[in-house]
Symmetry: C2
Subunit: 540 residues, 2 copies
């Protein structure tokens, strides 16, 4: 009984039994890209060739407890990557770099003991939660060390509720639904619902500055954390459990976003809310992305934002409706809208309100006034409910696209409102251009979400035929073009996916020379031997 999890697809996303078959209209649309000609299903686990494993020093095994050190192929494979498109390509390729062992830590004492032994023996440590990183955040990189372990935090499952302060201690190993299940009997919710919700963990949310789909209402995860505990090789950091302090630079905001490179976040005390009595999700349609952005800006700046706000550009609107199939509620409402307005295109907006019935009704009225004033047309609640129902399904769909020989990847950035439209165009153009350069023109779509008074996040999805045999090279070319465009625009390289391995080369542009130096300095202070998650966050 080590508590390690083996309940997901090793080669793809989530529940091994769940599929998200493509609709007829989706197949037709993707056929135009050249999909479906070569089905490329994943190999069997037994067929995967793993990197040779180095045996761990006895002191590390002893520190962990022998029963907590797993070296079997399945466990090593399950801890070999996160869940990005290149990760899936690597998993499907039949050859995989894996950690030398998976070490499961039962409690903070065990974490401390393992970090101590690994520091002494110079073994690299990759803290591992849900394995849902899409930026190479859990890649088993040894760095200059003799071996690398994945430190699985699944057994860290503390839950303790302070009802009157609306705070809950939550262990790093709890998955999203497990945290919600623990809070539900208290009538509480965390309100943190990123697309990875079903499998990602509290520790991962904290270490990566995750933002959920309802962040406009409940706050991003870095807002939700009142305090955190982090065990580093150099000692423990426990920030004070208080609503606010002015006692110097925020070490809480240093622990948040530390991505396992400083230490292991073992638990947080999170701000929770009464579970919503009512929910209202609905859809609106705007004519074009630019004017719809202005509409969302006005809502944000008037304090009238819904808890969930998500504005798709025309391309994403077209594609999501095609993916939903001709029978979908969104499709029907959209067709009616287009016919009524004699238009052929539009931009779908999803708006969601949660809370007491009275607050939902009051806030929805305020929001609806803003949507109408901004020129959007109401499409009703069905497309909103449909979106909410399918809100975690994107990654399942991606597995189908990969099976069909397609590249499907996402990336996100953010910028201030005055620069947003230029940023939107520049990053989209860069992705489109790079796909064309690869000889694989594809679909590039975007939505605005996580709106603030001063700006918003832009989330891009792109789908294109794979360059079979050169998938990683193709991916890297497109990713690099997007990152370079983002950096050139002075937007952020990541709004909520974190840095990991993929974005580390851009940290110099993001935080400047002194910024990188301060990150290195922090790492040296917390992790003098440099064993914590090598190759992530801090550029080499």
């Amino acid at each position: 009984m080590t508590g390690v999890r083996r309940d997901t697809k090793w080669w793809g996303w989530g529940d091994a039994e769940k599929r998200q078959p493509l609709s007829g209209s989706a197949r037709a649309m993707l056929a135009e890209l050249g999909a479906g000609e070569t089905e490329r299903p994943a190999p069997a686990l037994e067929e995967v060739e793993l990197s040779a494993a180095t045996e761990l020093p006895a002191t590390v095994v002893e520190a962990a407890g022998a029963g907590n050190v797993l070296t079997g192929a399945e466990d090593r494979v399950r801890h070999a990557t996160g869940s990005s498109y290149p990760d899936l390509i690597r998993r499907r390729s039949g050859r995989l770099e894996t950690p030398d062992a998976v070490v499961v830590t039962e409690d903070e004492t065990a974490v401390r003991a393992v970090l101590e032994a690994c520091t002494r023996e110079r073994i690299a440590v990759v803290p591992f939660g849900g394995g849902t990183s899409v930026v190479g955040g859990v890649d088993p990189i040894r760095g200059e060390h003799g071996a690398v372990i994945a430190l699985d935090l699944a057994p860290l499952r503390a839950v303790e509720v302070d009802r009157s302060s609306l705070l809950a201690r939550l262990g790093a190993g709890l998955r999203g639904p497990e945290a919600e299940d623990a809070l539900a009997p208290h009538g509480l919710t965390l309100g943190h619902f990123p697309q990875s919700f079903e499998y990602a963990t509290i520790g991962g949310f904290a270490a990566t500055r995750s933002a959920g789909q309802a962040s406009s209402g409940y706050g991003r995860f870095d807002d939700l954390v009142a305090s955190a505990r982090m065990i580093a090789p150099a000692g423990d950091l426990e920030t004070l459990r208080t609503s606010h302090t002015a006692a110097g630079p925020s070490l809480l905001q240093v622990a948040l976003g530390s991505e396992g490179a400083l230490g292991v976040i073992t638990e947080v005390t999170a701000r929770v809310r009464p579970a919503p009595e009512a929910r209202r999700y609905e859809a609106w349609m705007a004519a074009d992305f630019e004017s719809a952005c202005e509409l969302v800006r006005a809502l944000a700046q008037d304090g009238a934002l819904p808890d969930v706000i998500r504005l798709s550009d025309r391309e994403e609107t077209r594609v999501s409706l095609a993916m939903a199939g001709t029978g979908g509620a969104g499709r029907r409402a959209f067709d009616l809208y287009l016919r009524a307005r004699r238009r052929s295109e539009g931009c779908l907006i999803i708006a969601g309100y949660e809370g007491s019935s009275e607050a939902v009704s009051r806030r929805r009225a305020l929001g609806a006034r803003g949507f109408r004033f901004g020129g959007a047309a109401y499409l009703g609640r069905k497309p909103g409910a449909a979106w909410r129902h399918g809100r975690y399904d994107g990654p399942y769909l991606r597995d189908e696209l990969l099976d069909a020989g397609l590249m499907a990847e996402t990336l996100e950035t953010s910028h201030v409102w005055s620069a947003l439209d230029g940023h939107y165009r520049a990053v989209g153009d860069a992705i489109r251009g790079a796909l064309e350069d690869q000889g694989t023109p594809g679909i590039v779509m975007c939505h605005l979400s996580h709106a603030y008074r001063d700006g918003a996040s832009l989330y891009y999805t792109f789908i294109a035929p794979q360059r079979a045999g050169n998938e990683l090279e193709q991916w890297r070319a497109v990713k690099t073009a997007a990152c370079e465009a983002i950096v050139a625009q002075r937007g952020t390289i990541t709004h909520h996916h974190a840095v990991g391995r993929d974005h580390a080369p851009y940290m110099g542009s993001e935080v400047g020379e002194l910024g990188v130096e301060l990150l290195r300095t922090l790492k040296e202070g917390a992790d003098p031997a440099g064993i914590m998650n090598p190759g992530k966050l801090v550029p080499g």
Copy 2:
């Protein structure tokens, strides 16, 4: 024309012409404490004996420009302390430790040049804004260096507005009203109104994590800052101008609260708001502090907080009404309230709403429902308007109290709701106990402000007869007792006054051993020679 300011009382607070004479009822109340028997006015500036000044190395003078190096008595005195009670005692004592020189920096290039020269010559640098620190944040401590300068940032006055993103670049040297004056023509406000508003600067707000009286509505200053520029001896840190990023630990939240110990914050890009079309300030009265705290908690957790919320305990209510005099609107309303309820005591609540007329009216209705539900009685708008009118006058009143031979000091902390009542009692008891131990029992009062979903700040004021000749010893005994009680309760040592010199010894309790080590590490990275504001923030 160096741009240095000489427009305030050198021995006390603010406008040299403005006094805040004590009302008759205040004099009567204070007479009971033993005030007024020995008037102790400040000496003349010429009478003050200054510490001997060390001449600055020529390279430092050259880097600053000779005209920007001030060594006259008045300038040295004006930059000798902040504005805490012990600072005023030192100023009035007739003997003063001052910086060896005041260096005025005209722009970022000058700041860079001066820091470089001071690093080379090992001269300590105290960044200086409004001089309103109440925690010894600008004390001219040389540390291990040969001399110490106050680096006056008054000329850093950049203003640049991004209307559509509701952002404004604001130079570190702008005082609160200057920033507001620059924003007003754009129809904007920063909404940051701490008691020090009239004299404190943007740079100081950022360096100390200041919180204004309307922080529930507009946010604390660390919420208001979208990005910052900090010039450190090791280089420049400029954080990205974006609403949010997940790119690693927040270096913005490291610069905020850095208290001049890492570098010089030269400007911030701040989140601003449309100037309010309407304001409504009003007063409510609750029977006791404990139930009124529950009322505020309910408002905070229901999202129904006013922009300003301030709940005085019975003692503060009694004293503020006495201070206001018998003719005050608050006094009259309070008397009516007590008569109607056949009570002799109550707790005054000030609630303020700002924004569009429609929003003020909507939010006020929501708040009023909460106040009534919580058992508070409405006292009308006059006491609210009176509070707003006098919101910056506290420090003027303190000067009068010092003239009358009284100690008058404030301190603040915060805690989560579940611990707040115990914290309130423990800290109050510690202050009362220490005053009694000093043989100077006094008035100890408190208000709750800056309420959050998970907790709130407690702000204590205490007034007692001075132990003439031993004022600093007396103050230290009471301050130490309060700090030790705060630390024992696991509350924060400061909610918005920062660390400075006075709270530095408690940083180990606040952030733990590794936390202190990380702060040291950050300081070494940004300021390898350790010249920046020695003796503040990081414990020795």
